[in-house]
């Protein structure tokens, strides 16, 4: 059931379109991420939902009511900021009770609610401290507790983890997801970190230049990208520029690839075939070829160790291809070694060359 609905929302700053004709339905209790490079309009969209920016066009509905013109303090929408934005003059307890006091909640109830949310973020012992006495991760957890204490209808998180260390970031995003699921609170999460978006979201909205590129589950976004931008922004993808040929092949400069999705293009139309590095198998000799597999010979130019995988940079007659191999399933490869790159037709996706 649609709970939060953005209809044809547009916004321009000084004549430059920042968000263009943005329409999105968000279901109750789900966590939706806005993902995209900086300047893609994700934060502006979030700020329009919060009421901090006015819409140039379109409308926003929450639970069936139009909230487009409602001031931010009457929207009942909580927000967590990148810079935490805790009130420096107030203790943790006073920070969290601020929203409840604004709602004229009775005192004993405030106390109970503050204790509950502090327990939820596991920081009961910090109640009497000031924000500057907490670490960045703790401050952001308190900011989350403060936003949740008033039981908002929607929770907005604006790059909440960007200012934190890598370790804290991973731990805290798990925490955010756990609390969000427990409370089943409708949440919009803005991030430029694809791993973050993929790992915690029910749905991901990939944006670029103010336009939605794709909306889908993390799996869909990763496995079945619909545009070249999505394919290259999420994860790594080898790109083969060429022209469509027949029902299943792409003719590139010096090779012909078998690919899926070619039937959607006219013969001779410019397309790009995309293959993820982890779908490429590396073999030292050409095995018995199966007819729905691509096989490209090449020379290993670089070997980069990434821990779980080793990434090979392979020169294949001018085009550089990266392939990920795991120690477990590949024989050791040496620099300048001649190898074969193999990948099935199903791992090779075709889309329009234009972004």
């Amino acid at each position: 059931m649609t709970y939060l609905e953005l209809k044809n929302v547009s916004k321009a700053f000084a004549g430059v379109d920042v968000v263009h004709d943005f329409s999105l339905d968000i279901e109750k209790g789900t966590l939706v991420s806005f993902l995209g490079p900086s300047g893609c309009g994700k934060t502006t969209t979030l700020r329009m939902i919060a009421g901090f920016e006015q819409l140039d066009d379109g409308s926003i509905q929450l639970d069936g009511n139009d909230i487009t013109g409602v001031p931010p303090n009457r929207r009942d929408i909580g927000m967590v900021f990148q810079a935490y934005a805790l009130f420096p003059n107030k203790t943790v307890r006073d920070n969290i009770s601020f929203g409840l006091r604004m709602k004229k909640t009775p005192k004993n109830e405030i106390r109970k609610k503050v204790d509950t949310v502090l327990e939820m973020v596991r920081l009961q012992e910090t109640a009497d401290r000031y924000p500057h006495q907490l670490s960045g991760g703790q401050q952001q957890r308190i900011a989350l507790a403060r936003a949740l204490a008033v039981q908002p209808r929607v929770l907005l998180l604006d790059e909440p983890l960007s200012a934190l260390d890598a370790g804290v970031r991973v731990a805290l995003r798990g925490e955010i997801r756990r609390i969000q699921s427990e409370l089943a609170i409708t949440t919009v999460y803005v991030t430029h970190d694809q791993e973050e978006a993929l790992s915690i979201s029910d749905k991901v909205v990939v944006m670029n230049k103010g336009i939605i590129q794709q909306v889908g589950t993390p799996e869909e976004i990763y496995r079945a990208p619909q545009t070249r931008f999505v394919a290259t922004f999420i994860g790594t993808a080898n790109q083969f520029l060429g022209t469509a040929s027949g029902r299943d092949s792409v003719v590139c400069k010096n090779i012909k690839l078998l690919a899926e999705g070619v039937e959607n293009f006219r013969d001779g139309e410019e397309v790009v075939a995309l293959v993820r590095p982890e779908n490429i198998h590396v073999q030292s000799e050409l095995p018995q070829q199966r007819n729905d597999w691509n096989a490209i010979p090449g020379v290993v130019e670089t070997i980069t160790f990434h821990g779980a995988v080793t990434r090979l940079g392979v020169n294949t007659g001018g085009q550089r291809i990266v392939a990920d191999v795991t120690v477990a399933n590949t024989k050791p490869v040496a620099l300048n070694q001649k190898i074969w790159l193999l990948f099935p037709m199903s791992a090779c996706q075709v889309m329009a060359a234009k972004e």
Binding site: N73, A83, N89, M102, Q133, R146
Partner: protein, 281 residues
């Protein structure tokens, strides 16, 4: 061994620096304090023109100062003028600066320019212009006109610290955080913004208070004898008796200093706040 010698040399170098610092700090203090100290000594000296130190000491000039007609009334007038100016400045400047920071960032350069104007216009010109423009009752040559004038004159002293404090606390995000928690702009100002820029507000208030307490030109030209303030009385006495004038100066310092302490005290003990939290960052 080599390393040890090197570190020794380095620490010796470091040892030298404080001596230079001490010299310059000493020079600065001497420059700043000498006039004040000599005023203090002059106010209790019987005769001090033939010897390095005064020939004798007396409190009689303080007695004469306190006994002077107008002593209490000018003191009262000066206090009224200074406190009223601080109050009006606070009411006008704090919300304006906040508003410009939040919503009218494009107006910032204009405000900056306006804040330099009082330094650019000679006080005499300002006073005469005001007297000519506001030549009607009840403003003409009244204390109200004077308060208005000194508010303008002392505006930069309030604006600068308040504006800096607002910049230091990221008032934008704090305001939005308050809004998202259901607070209106008055509640946010009272509970979040003002407590966090209190150091700026206090130093602005102190600067305005001490500037206005010692103000002479505007007072003399706009109201003159109708609303005599302490500096006017002081100047009168420099022509009558230098020692009494020095005693007046000392009294004036002391009052300005006491009121400053009071403003600081009221500002910092009003609520249980952590001084660390109030530090600008």
């Amino acid at each position: 061994m080599k390393d040890l010698r090197k570190t020794n040399r380095e620490s010796a170098k470091k040892m030298h620096r404080p001596r230079w610092q001490a010299f310059f700090i000493g020079l600065f203090l001497f420059y700043m304090l000498l006039p004040i100290l000599s005023t203090y000594v002059f106010s209790v000296a019987t005769r001090w023109d033939r010897t390095i130190l005064p020939e004798g000491y007396t409190l009689q000039f303080y007695a004469r100062a306190a006994g002077a007609s107008y002593f209490t009334s000018t003191l009262r007038n000066s206090l009224i003028l200074s406190l009223a100016t601080v109050l009006v400045s606070l009411i006008i400047i704090v919300p304006t600066v906040y508003w410009v920071h939040m919503r009218l960032t494009s107006a910032q350069p204009l405000i900056e320019l306006l804040m330099i104007l009082p330094f650019g216009i000679p006080t005499v010109v300002l006073a005469l212009a005001l007297v000519q423009v506001y030549n009607f009752a009840p403003l003409a040559r009244s204390p109200f006109l004077l308060i208005g004038a000194v508010v303008v004159y002392s505006m930069p002293f309030m604006y600068r610290p308040v504006s800096n404090a607002l910049q230091a606390i990221d008032s934008h995000t704090l305001t939005e955080a308050g809004q998202s928690l259901g607070a209106n702009i008055v509640q946010i100002l009272a509970e979040v913004v003002i407590p966090n820029i209190l150091p700026g507000i206090l130093s602005g208030s102190l600067l305005v208070f001490s500037t206005v307490f010692a103000e002479y030109t505007l007072t003399s030209l706009i109201v003159g004898a109708r609303f005599k303030t302490f500096p006017l009385l002081l100047l009168e006495y420099t022509r009558i008796n230098g020692n009494v004038a020095a005693a007046f100066s000392v009294i004036s310092f002391t009052i300005a200093w006491l009121v400053s302490m009071m403003i600081l005290w009221v500002g910092t003990t009003g609520k249980a706040t952590s001084p660390e939290a109030l530090r600008a960052r």
